[in-house]
């Protein structure tokens, strides 16, 4: 297998790596490679899929369906299969991945390694909750792990950042759906308090809030709450994909532009709310229609901050939103969601509480702001999401994840030499138990 020397980055493009990449097209070719971290579509924002000055294995060509049973909804596929492909193939047959991240470009392996969540975490838990079995290349062996076989390794692999072994394939349970459409209701939330109350009260299967991170004073934390259920009807035509051909200039996301855009976006929804029908991709992956939207942040890229704050921490959340609003750095991309109880993954992000995700263009003042937000999160007993992070410090992250020491021991057992380490695990010192 030839190695390709390349400079590559995560979705945020603020961090880069230079190294050698292999892209096997068969499992036998993958197994013949020296051990190196596996990467999927590189939709993690920071450095989770980077290995600067080292090697990495691109899994996207290992994307075959190994089996599907329409009786049980059990799908087995290679790690490189994308969520969007699953949607394209299985929605016409009445099935959908039970948990879907905000981008369809994410791969099966990536969704497991990050234990991603969707707009239904409060009902259905994280992606890992629907994984039945994982085939790992671990310690030079081809092993199958599940809740029955090597349960602890299985739990360490859900959200395990690819450190317990290379995820080759997995079996996941798909959800049966009545049809290809989504019935979506959108309502305004006039303040943070109302926003959180609406998220708490929502009974819908899918609930998500868009937050105007530029609004201050009484309007601080205002936004639009979207609630959705699967519909029987045929879906409306999908909106056409567009792409961002070049890096946008800096003013594109300057403070006045974002403020004006957000106000407009908020008023898009009439005061009494609105209902509409949408296709599954348009509802779940709204940004996928704009290919390479990360270029809107210009060539310096951007950072995303995502935290979860326990339900009791509303005041802390208010402090975080306030810090963001007064920084003037926020972009229009800000999402507020309610998460349900913690799952099985030892290093999984979701825990019961409110999760807030905000994008910030990479500017001089951005790191200081994000560091402050991380400190506020830690103080409130919350967590930051490693799929998004590019700026945290190791000690505070390790303290946020109580399962860390046990996880590190399991990762070390399968990879004592640390050949699966990435820029993220090195930056945060995750592979050492202390």
């Amino acid at each position: 297998m030839r190695w390709k020397t390349d400079t590559y980055s995560g979705w945020g493009r603020a961090l880069k790596a230079e190294g050698e990449l292999a892209r096997p097209e068969r499992i036998s070719a993958l197994k013949a490679l020296p051990l190196a971290p596996a990467m999927g579509a590189r939709r993690s924002y920071g450095d989770a899929a980077l290995n600067d000055s080292g090697r990495a294995v691109d899994m996207t060509r290992l994307d075959r369906i190994i089996g599907f049973d329409p009786e049980t909804g059990l799908l087995e596929a290679e790690a490189g299969l994308s969520i969007a492909e699953m949607v394209r193939i299985f929605v016409p047959r009445g099935f959908l991945p039970a948990v879907m991240p905000g981008t369809g470009f994410a791969t099966l392996g990536g969704c497991i390694a990050m234990d991603v969540h969707g707009k239904n975490h409060h009902h259905d838990g994280s992606f890992g909750a629907h994984v039945e079995e994982i085939r790992l290349l671990r310690g030079g062996k081809d092993v199958v792990i599940s809740r029955e076989k090597q349960k602890e390794v299985f739990r360490a692999t859900l959200g395990g950042l690819g450190q317990t072994g290379v995820i080759m394939s997995a079996k996941i349970r798909l959800r049966e759906i009545p049809g290809p459409s989504m019935q979506v209701q959108e309502r305004r939330a006039e303040s943070l308090e109302e926003h959180l109350n609406m998220l708490d009260a929502s009974q819908a299967r899918y609930t998500v809030g868009w937050l105007d991170a530029t609004a201050k004073g009484a309007a601080m934390g205002r936004g639009i709450v979207e609630e959705a259920e699967h519909g029987h009807a045929d879906a409306p035509a999908e909106e056409k994909a567009k792409s961002v051909p070049v890096d946008a200039p800096r003013f594109a996301l300057s403070k006045p532009v974002v403020k004006a855009f957000n106000a407009q976006y908020y008023r898009r929804i009439p005061e009494g709310g609105q209902r509409r029908m949408r296709s599954i991709p348009d509802f779940f992956f709204p940004l996928d229609r704009i290919h390479d939207w990360n270029k809107l942040y210009g060539k310096r890229g951007f950072h995303q901050f995502q935290c979860v704050i326990p339900l009791s921490g509303r005041d802390a959340l208010r402090g975080i939103v306030e810090a963001i609003a007064s920084s003037g750095l926020a972009s229009p991309l800000a999402v507020l969601k309610r998460l349900g109880p913690e799952g099985e993954g030892m290093l999984s992000f979701p825990m019961e509480g409110y999760t807030l995700a905000v994008d910030f263009p990479a500017r001089a003042k951005t790191p200081a702001l994000i560091e402050k937000l991380i400190a506020l999160t830690a103080e409130a007993g919350g967590r930051i999401y490693l799929a998004k992070d590019s700026l945290a410090d190791g000690a505070s992250v390790r303290a946020m994840y109580p399962g860390h020491a046990k996880w590190a021991a399991i990762a070390a057992k399968g990879d004592p030499a640390g050949a699966l380490q990435t820029d993220l695990t090195r930056r945060l010192g995750l592979r050492s138990a202390t």
Binding site: M1, R2, W3, K4, T5, L21, A22, R23, P24, E25, R26, I27, S28, A29, R61, R64, I65, I66, G67, F68, I89
Partner: protein
């Protein structure tokens, strides 16, 4: 009508992309190659994505004994017989220079093996009165270059063979599409320096299917390679022989 496709060299990423497209249409697919484990996996993938039958079958361009069982199997199928040939091997020219025995293998894999198979298949296609052969050649076959002239020569031979086969099958209602890919993003080109405007295999598969439908004779994919090669072919030999492109 029932359509059968035999795909030689089915583990290549271009072939895989084409097989998925054909599976989506509900055609019967026979995936031929050497790596049976991987072929089985591709066959399952095609069955899961489509409605037709997909089966892994053994084919080795260097083992003539694998040819006859395939021809017999195809003659047992009802309906139209089509073939797509993706086989070929491209050792580095320096490797060949160091070990001239590699010349033979390269020519068998890329030219004489598939040519022999297609010659055995042609009577069956003629008897059925139709069907299409997709022969994947290469822009490397359009002119011999210092960097890979053995592979280029094998592909040039294959192009000429396909042109003759087209002439033959046309009389019986059949057709031959010669496909000349430029740089395609496959395991063969991964990590080679100097690649530009690399096309994804899915794009090539789409171009091939369109060419089959429209009964095109020779296509370059992506299309602009036709013009690049036009320029390269038009350079006078006294100048060309001094270039290293």
């Amino acid at each position: 009508m029932n359509k059968n496709w035999i795909i030689l060299g089915a583990t290549s990423s271009m072939a895989r992309a084409l097989a998925r497209e054909l599976a989506g249409r509900g055609d019967n697919i026979f995936l031929a190659g050497r790596d049976m484990d991987d072929l089985e996996r591709i066959a399952t993938d095609c069955r899961m994505r489509g409605t037709g039958e997909a089966r892994a079958v053994k084919f080795d361009a260097r083992k003539l004994e694998t040819f006859t069982p395939l021809i017999e199997m195809l003659s047992d199928q009802e309906g139209e017989i089509n073939a797509a040939v993706f086989v070929g091997s491209m050792p580095e020219q320096e490797e060949i220079d160091a070990d001239p025995a590699l010349v033979d293998g390269t020519i068998i894999d890329s030219f004489t093996g598939p040519a022999r198979f297609l010659t055995m298949l042609a009577p069956l296609m003629e008897a059925r009165g139709g069907g299409t052969v997709v022969g994947v050649g290469s822009v490397a076959g359009d002119r011999g270059r210092v960097g890979n002239y053995v592979y280029g020569a094998a592909k040039a031979g294959f192009h000429t063979y396909l042109s003759g086969l087209r002439n033959r099958l046309t009389r019986a209602g059949g057709h031959v599409v010669t496909v000349k890919p430029g740089f395609v993003d496959t395991a063969m080109t991964w990590g080679i320096e100097g690649m530009f405007l690399v096309a994804p295999p899915e794009k090539v598969a789409g171009d091939i299917l369109r060419a089959v439908e429209k009964r095109k004779n020779v296509i370059y994919t992506p299309f602009f390679w036709r013009y690049i090669m036009l320029i390269i072919r038009s350079i006078p030999e006294p100048i060309f022989k001094k270039l290293s492109i």
